[in-house]
């Protein structure tokens, strides 16, 4: 890590702070200072150049940078951020698609290493992911019956003979007529395909759903139907969600708690009601100010200046400081830590510390 300096180092044990334990429900998923790095290895030419003394380094993207998060049973956590903030990568770590590069991921108190084979299989089945684009996550050559029924049969949740009945039950649950079972994904509308993606995840009786921009591609009227379906399923099946979205109005509608990420780091986390009424972090405040709503007529848009920096070469100290109105000398060198402002309200900003943003 080229830019690592003393100021950037955050003790890994920070995850155990009382703030993160303040949740009432028992955590189903715990992330302890989880990082995910993607490394682009040097190609042959660069290796030869290095051998001659060019000193080229591997490119490292810190997609997720020491994020600690707990999700309680039955809770809906909304994960918000702009493109490249690492929200999807974090979702994939939670869903077990990417192993974390550092830190620990626990499901019901155990890491995967601590589980035996049966527990591990149970855990991977209980956490399911719903993707953004059903067309690229549903096999176009399989009938809906096989898309939804394959996993439960393989994992022994239903026998081959029971598959039809099981699939019909799941399809009904998501509001699709079971007679469509023999059709292929392309024969459905966008909203129906989204429902098939949800049905596939539900078919293995999950407890925890990671929804990655699952309604982003849908039209407004269809989006409302799918959001209502998520709410209904949560009540009927007592599901827990990690709901990833760039759309704050969607997250506000569904979530109990909202986590805001910027360039791989968590900048603020709070109960939804608190976050939307009293956002603390300057980035959260800017995001909320930029949400267009029906009430804001003829508004003068007051944008946040600048663009999201490249995650290949993020700014030093607080990642947000080049765009922040309040940035001071300290923000340029020292990474702010998450501090608790109120019950369950965490924010990573030097403005909250006694030292302020000064040097």
């Amino acid at each position: 890590m080229s830019r690592s300096d003393a100021a950037n180092a955050v003790p890994g044990g920070d995850a155990g702070s009382p703030a993160l334990r303040a949740l009432t429900a028992a955590p189903i998923v715990q992330l302890e200072a989880v990082s995910k790095r993607f490394v682009k290895p040097l190609d042959a030419a660069a290796r030869i150049a290095n051998w001659l003394g060019a000193g080229q380094r591997e490119q490292v993207v810190h997609a997720v940078d020491e994020v600690s998060l707990e999700v309680g049973e039955g809770e809906v956590v909304g994960l918000v951020g702009e493109s490249g903030c690492g929200k999807s990568t974090l979702g994939r770590v939670v869903a077990g698609i990417h192993p974390p590069s550092a830190g620990r991921f626990r499901y019901r108190g155990k890491t995967f290493e601590e589980m035996n084979a049966a527990e591990r299989r149970q855990a991977t089945l209980e956490v399911q992911m719903i993707f953004q684009d059903p067309m690229s996550s549903l096999n176009p050559r399989l009938r809906v019956r096989d898309i939804v029924g394959e996993a439960p049969v393989y994992h022994g949740l239903a026998s081959k003979a029971e598959m039809g009945g099981h699939v019909a039950e799941v399809l009904e649950r998501v509001g699709l007529d079971p007679v469509f079972m023999q059709r292929y994904p392309h024969q459905f509308s966008g909203g129906q395909r989204a429902r098939i993606g949800i049905a596939r995840a539900l078919a293995v009786n999950p407890r925890f759903l990671v929804c990655d921009e699952s309604v982003a591609a849908l039209d407004v009227s269809i989006q409302a139907q799918v959001l209502n379906l998520f709410t209904k399923l949560r009540e009927q099946l007592k599901l827990t969600y990690l709901f990833i979205s760039h759309d704050l109005s969607v997250v506000r509608h569904l979530s109990d708690r909202v986590v805001i990420m910027y360039l791989g780091r968590m900048v603020e986390s709070a109960p939804a009601r608190v976050l939307f009424s009293q956002p603390n972090h300057p980035y959260s405040r800017a995001l909320l100010a930029n949400v267009s709503s029906l009430a804001s007529r003829h508004m003068r848009f007051a944008p946040l200046s600048g663009e999201i920096p490249s995650p290949l070469n993020p700014p030093s100290g607080c990642h947000f400081h080049p765009r922040c109105l309040h940035a001071g000398p300290r923000c340029r060198v020292e990474r702010p830590v998450l501090t608790e402002l109120g019950s369950g309200h965490l924010s990573a900003c030097h403005l909250n510390s006694p030292g302020g943003v000064g040097g």
């Binding site: 569904l254 995001l287 944008p303 946040l304």
Partner: protein, 333 residues
Amino acid sequence: MSASSEPLLKVTDLATHFITRAGTVKAVDGVSFEVARGEVLGLVGESGSGKSVTGYSILGLVDPPGQIVSGSIRLSGRELAGLDDEAMRSIRGREIAMIFQDPMMTLNPVLRIDTQMIEAILAHERVSERAARDRAVEALQKVGIPSPRERLEAYPHQFSGGMRQRVAIAIALLNRPSLIVADEPTTALDVTIQSQILAEMQALCRDTGTALIWITHDLTVIAGLAQQVAVMYAGRIVERAGVDAVLDAPRHPYTEGLLGSLPSAATPGEPLRQIPGSTPSLGRLPPGCAFSPRCAYATAQCRTEAPEVSGQTLGGGVERQFRCHHPLQEPSR
């Protein structure tokens, strides 16, 4: 604008159909609206409502098998429907410009930005290349691109998505058009970048008097930007009025349904007031009112007879039009 003067753009009974072997798709079917100088019209609809085809029709960009089958498009009193390609080309880019959702529709990936911008100026005007370059710099500056003189020499791939969209907007502004048609230009962008672009478009319309047709599916963007809103469903404008009238007191059930579907309008956790069913395929529209299968107020009349446009004057010269047999009651005030 005085009542006698003609609006900048007047579209009357526009119909754009796609005539294929599988049947005729009426993508735009009898659309009428007006845009005044400096006004922002929000054209709202879901996918397949015909909002983009309406925009393309104004610019004469509908390709076969699509064609404008009837209706008139008058820009500053001049008829655009039926103009040949050459005449249209001299108008497009000079008097009307278009901004697409994907800026790479506008930009040529293998040419530098300066080549593309200077070409767009020289195509319409006899000016020196140096003057054209200065104007390109000015346009880039206007849309908030830092160090424009250096950035002119970059290729499109060297810009980020938001910057590329700004370049596309700068190209649209080059010849100081009187009308810009923008087709979902911020849909693919992040929230903070979207509001930067909205802020710049808003300032441009205010400063230059350019009229804007903003095509989008996002009613919340329209709320902040537009003065006039037209809601499209299945190739028709179902309701059109000033932004406050449409958003606060919709008369058409579809507008009401769209507004109810927005998560921002609902109490968190409460179910959204969803519209049942899904948008019909334009090739197989139901008889009568196209919205009737999804409408809670539909009667036998709606299922057989397509509603005509009804008008209503709201006072202050504001007018409202809608297509519904059973319009919603106006809120009593």
